[in-house]
Structure formats: C-alpha cells, structure tokens
C-alpha cells in the first residue's frame, strides 16, 4: 500500500528531465493517448463533481437518522442501503467525497509546501542546511508511513485537523528529496549562471528561475500523493484516529460498519469501493502525467 509506494514515486520522479519545448506534442495530447490517464481523469472529475454538487445530488442529508429504516439492504428506497441509524448510505458516501478531497488537498499542500521550501534550500545552498534537511528526511523515512502517521496522531491527539497535519508531516520528505535532487541539477544550468552573472539575488533566482522549473515533478508527485493521503486518512479514520462520528469519512463509515458485517455487509462494501476508485483515479492520472512529462520512463 502506501509506504513503499512513495519510494518508488521518488525514484520515478527523480529521473525526470525537462522536455525541450516545441519539439514534443503538448502535454494534453500526450496525456490523451494514455487510456489509463484518461480513466483516471474521468474518475477524478466525477469525484470533484460529486463533492461540489453533494447538496444537490445526495437524496438525504449527512446525518438524517431514521431508526425504523435501520440496516435496510440496497433496493429501490435506498440505492446503497442504510446504516445502523437508518441513514442513507449513498448520501453518506456522497458527502464523504468532500472529506476525502479536503484531506487530500490540505495534506498534499502541507507536504508540498514544507518539502519544496526545505528541498530548495537544501539543494540551492547545500552545506549544513543540506545536512539537516537530509537528516530530517532520513528520520521521517525510517518508519513506515502508516506507523509514522499513527504515532504522530498519538502525539497530537485524534481528529481530522491533526490527521491532515500528521500525514503532511509524514510525506514532506518525499517532496524534499525530489526537489533537492532537481535543484542540484538546475543550479548548474546556464540560465542560472546567467542570472547570477547579471547580478540577480538568490531570492530572485529561486523564485523566478528554479521554482517554475520544478513544476512538472511536483505536479506528478502531488497527484500520486493525493491518492496516498486519501488512503492513509481512511486507514486512520477506520482506527478511530481521524474523523469522528457522525462525520461521514469513508474510513469512519467502514469502522462503524464492521460491527454489522454479518447483518449489513453493504455498509462495509460501498465506502471501500469509493476509496478504491478515488485512489485509483489519482494513481492512474499521476502515472499518466509522469509518462507524458517524460516519455522515456514509459513501461518501467
């Protein structure tokens, strides 16, 4: 699942090179040729639409209880059945998409912001900053990601906000490593030397010349991490460390459903499928983007 995957993301991203402009067909054209990426894109667009339009498409509210209809199987009245409080599963899963998306975006932003900042500083300045950043990355990578996230939640206390922060803290190292590697190469490029020569300050070189060139590996990484973050959120919420009831996080719906596995298997089945399709979407799109940004990596 999550942990070793990021290592491979890193390896994949590390070797990214900058395609020469003009010579290659546009990103979109290359992306469109990959059926996987297109399936991923469709899945993510569906997820976005579901999250945005949740109020309009959900047949019932987030927490509309109706105990007389508890644990109803899927059917004409409730398409995906109801849970132990008689809440409509379809509606809960639709609203759950908002939480997954929110967690994915915030976590990835936290990780990206930290990772890019520290990675750029480490790669650009080198020396002791580099040592410290690399040391921190090594320490944060010493543990499997799930374990690290669980431990951080134990320290910070349970809850969705702490969870987003914890998972962000787990993943910043992935960004920092990739960005650092890229900056090391970028630093030697002629346009950076030229900027130095005309007397540009470090801050200007970093903001105007280095960061824009980091965009493609960061986008690939962020897309893949969105999936990982959503997966970890569901795991932690399942363990009762993330979203608390009645918040309809897919993971916490699964947690309450396991008690009714025998009586009402649908409560356990559908949120899992929702998680899988969402994460699959981000993985497919991320892989597609990576291949499109560097065609040499294809089939590896």
């Amino acid at each position: 699942m999550a942990e070793t995957k990021t290592d491979s993301i890193e390896n994949d991203v590390k070797t990214l090179e900058f395609p020469e402009r003009g010579k290659n067909p546009s990103l979109w054209k290359r992306l469109r040729r990959s059926p996987g990426a297109m399936i991923g894109l469709v899945l993510i667009i569906l997820l976005l639409l579901t999250a945005i339009l949740a109020n309009h498409i959900a047949p019932q509210g987030i927490d509309d209880q109706d105990l007389r209809n508890a644990l109803q199987p899927p059917g004409s009245a409730f398409v995906l059945g109801t849970d132990e409080f008689g809440r409509d599963m379809l509606s809960r899963i639709i609203y759950g998409s908002r939480i997954s998306l929110e967690v994915g975006i915030i976590t990835t932003s936290v990780a990206a912001l930290m990772g890019i900042t520290l990675g750029v500083l480490a790669g650009y300045y080198g020396g002791w900053i580099d040592y410290i950043v690399q040391g921190l990355v090594d320490v944060s990578w010493a543990f499997p990601t799930v374990l690290m996230a669980i431990f951080l939640i134990a320290v910070l206390g349970p809850g969705l906000v702490n969870l987003m922060f914890a998972v962000g803290l787990v993943y910043w190292g992935a960004f920092a490593r990739v960005v650092r590697g890229q900056v090391l190469t970028l630093r030697e490029w002629e346009f950076v030397t030229a900027a130095h020569a005309i007397g540009a300050r470090d801050s200007r070189i970093i903001l105007r010349h280095i960061i824009p060139n980091l965009l493609s590996p960061v986008i690939v990484m962020a897309t893949l991490l969105m999936g990982d973050a959503i997966l970890i959120e569901s795991t932690l919420s399942f363990l009762g460390m993330g979203a608390q009831p009645p918040t309809p996080s897919w993971g916490s719906i699964l947690a309450s459903g396991r008690a009714y596995l025998r009586l009402a298997p649908w409560v356990t089945t559908f949120p899992g499928i929702a998680i899988m399709l969402t994460v699959l979407g981000f993985n497919l799109l991320g892989d597609g983007l990576r291949d499109a940004l560097d065609p040499r990596l294809k089939d590896r």
Partner: protein, 305 residues
C-alpha cells in the same frame, strides 16, 4: 563480510538512540496526561501528585530521558501504566504473534508475485501480463483493512470456510496473511517483470540461446537468477510495509500482536508500552534492512562490502 556486518550493527546504535530520543520527546509534547488514565478526574491533587511521583513523571525531562535510556540499555523498557507488567515481557509475549503474520504475508507475496512477474515478462502483452498490471494498480489503490473486511465477509461470513478473527492455528492465519500480502503482489510482480525484461535484453542471454541451451535452462539459470537480485533489495523495503500494515490488519482480525497492543496503548495513553512498541518495530526494520543487504552480497558475488 564480518567486518561489514560489525560496522552496520555498530551504525545501527546511533539510529536506535535517535529513535528512542525522538519517540520520547514527541510523547512528552503530547497534550494528554498519563495520570488521567489511572486516576479519576475528580481525585484530589494530592493523589495525582503521588501517582506522578510513583511513575517518576515529576522529575525533570532530561533526568527522565537518561533514566529511560539507562533502563533501555539494560533491556528494561519500563512498566505498562495500565496493567503494571514490564513492557519487555508484554513484547516477548506479542512478538511471535506479529512475526507469524508478517512472515506468512511475506512468503505469500513472493510466492505469488515472482512467478507472476516472470510469466508476465516472458509473455509480454499476454493476459497474465495485463492481469499483473491491473493487480498492481488495484493493490496500491485499495485500503488493506478493507480487503481484510471483504475477505472476512466472503470466506468467513458467507462461505464459512475460515474463522473470521482470532489467533492460533493456521486457519486463523490465512485471511490476515492474505489481507496483508495481496495488495503488494501486483507491485512486486511488476518489479520482477521489469527486472527480468532488463536481463532478457543482455548479451549473455543471447549467447546462452546462441549456443543452443534449452529454453528452460536459459530462463531459470541465466534470466531468473540475475533478475532476482533487485527483488532482494525490495524485500528490505517490504519489511517496513509489512510492519506498518500489520498494525492495521491485526486490528481488523483481532489478533493480539504488537500492532494491536500499540493501538491499545495509544487509546489508553499507556506511553511506556507505546514507546516499547515503536522501539521494537524500529529495531526490526533496521535489522531487516541489514539482513537484506547481506543477502544481496551473498547472492551477487559482484557486490563486495
């Protein structure tokens, strides 16, 4: 080789000390008070104070850390706040339960994944090749705990072939091992496949074929043996995955192992147990990686440490 091993083991010590320090400090920053676990919230302050002194929580942080490290060096991981038993005893009791699950999942992964990847590499674009790719994609996208629940639903609740939860006996090991191992099978198969494809293109493979060796000799002796080398380094990484996953899977299948104990210690804020669990798991990961590196050198004579 012995010198290398000694060096690696020696370097593991500072890493372990750093882990102990970080785990210790992080837990000190934690907002909860372990005293709350033992004492009723309405108890008078004098009682709370006495409990705090008993646990040594009233001493300065640095003193607490050195006491903790000194005990650690003597193999004393402290005492559980909750049930007053020595943490090391609890860990000894739980370790075999977790090790059994981890080993089973590990074996299962490679027994399925390596042949699958090999067949996919030899028959590119075949059904097996596609199957391994789809399995890899679904494997990394699926929550492993959910797979566990679905396995329980299918094999225990519906078919009644296997017991849903618990520990003891091979029948109770099959489902958790599948839930822990299956998600990675596709990914390992894909790595096996690309490693094999790389070897298939080598000159010595062409030479082997050119001198008229039987195809199975070429595949097993020339291709397989050389392409398995990267898989071994993957095994070291895999250990971390299995240890992380076992925490969740043990919870799903109610297996009383280290992972489950760790979760319980978080819920009950039993910090000595949590520290002990983190420490043992870190130790296992470090040892596993050293072992993988040694195995690497053993299999590939070109690598000399």
């Amino acid at each position: 080789m012995t010198a290398y091993l000694a060096k690696r083991l020696l370097f593991a010590i500072p890493v372990l000390i750093a882990t102990a320090l970080l785990v210790f400090l992080a837990l000190q920053l934690s907002p909860g008070d372990p005293v709350d676990v033992l004492v009723s919230p309405i108890a008078p302050e004098s009682v709370r104070q006495r409990v705090r002194t008993e646990l040594g929580l009233d001493k300065p942080l640095a003193v607490q850390f050195f006491i903790y490290m000194g005990n650690l060096a003597r193999g004393n991981l402290g005492t559980s706040i909750l049930n007053k038993r020595p943490v090391i005893e609890l860990l000894k009791e739980k370790l075999p339960i977790t090790a059994e699950l981890g080993l089973a999942a590990f074996l299962l992964q490679y027994i399925i994944a390596v042949p699958l990847g090999a067949i996919a590499a030899i028959n590119r674009n075949s059904i097996i090749d596609w199957f391994s790719m789809i399995m890899a994609l679904i494997g990394v996208s699926m929550p492993d705990f959910w797979l566990g629940l679905i396995l329980i639903l299918f094999f225990a609740v519906t078919l009644k072939w296997l017991p849903p939860t618990g520990y003891g006996g091979i029948d109770k090991l099959i489902l958790p091992a599948l839930a822990l191992g299956l998600p990675r099978v596709g990914r390992i198969a894909r790595i096996t496949r690309s490693s094999m494809l790389e070897v298939i293109g080598q000159d010595y493979v062409r030479t082997a074929r050119a001198k008229g060796l039987a195809e199975h000799v070429v595949v097993f002796r020339h291709i397989m043996r050389n392409s398995l080398i990267p898989i071994i380094s993957l095994m070291g990484l895999d250990l971390g995955y299995i240890i992380g996953g076992s925490v969740v899977i043990e919870n799903v299948f109610a297996r009383p192992g280290i992972g489950n104990m760790m979760l319980q210690s978080i819920y009950s804020r039993d910090f000595p147990v949590l520290q002990g669990c983190m420490f043992v798991l870190a130790f296992a990961i470090i040892l596993g990686n050293i072992f993988a590196d040694l195995l690497y050198a053993l299999v590939d004579p070109r690598i000399r440490y």
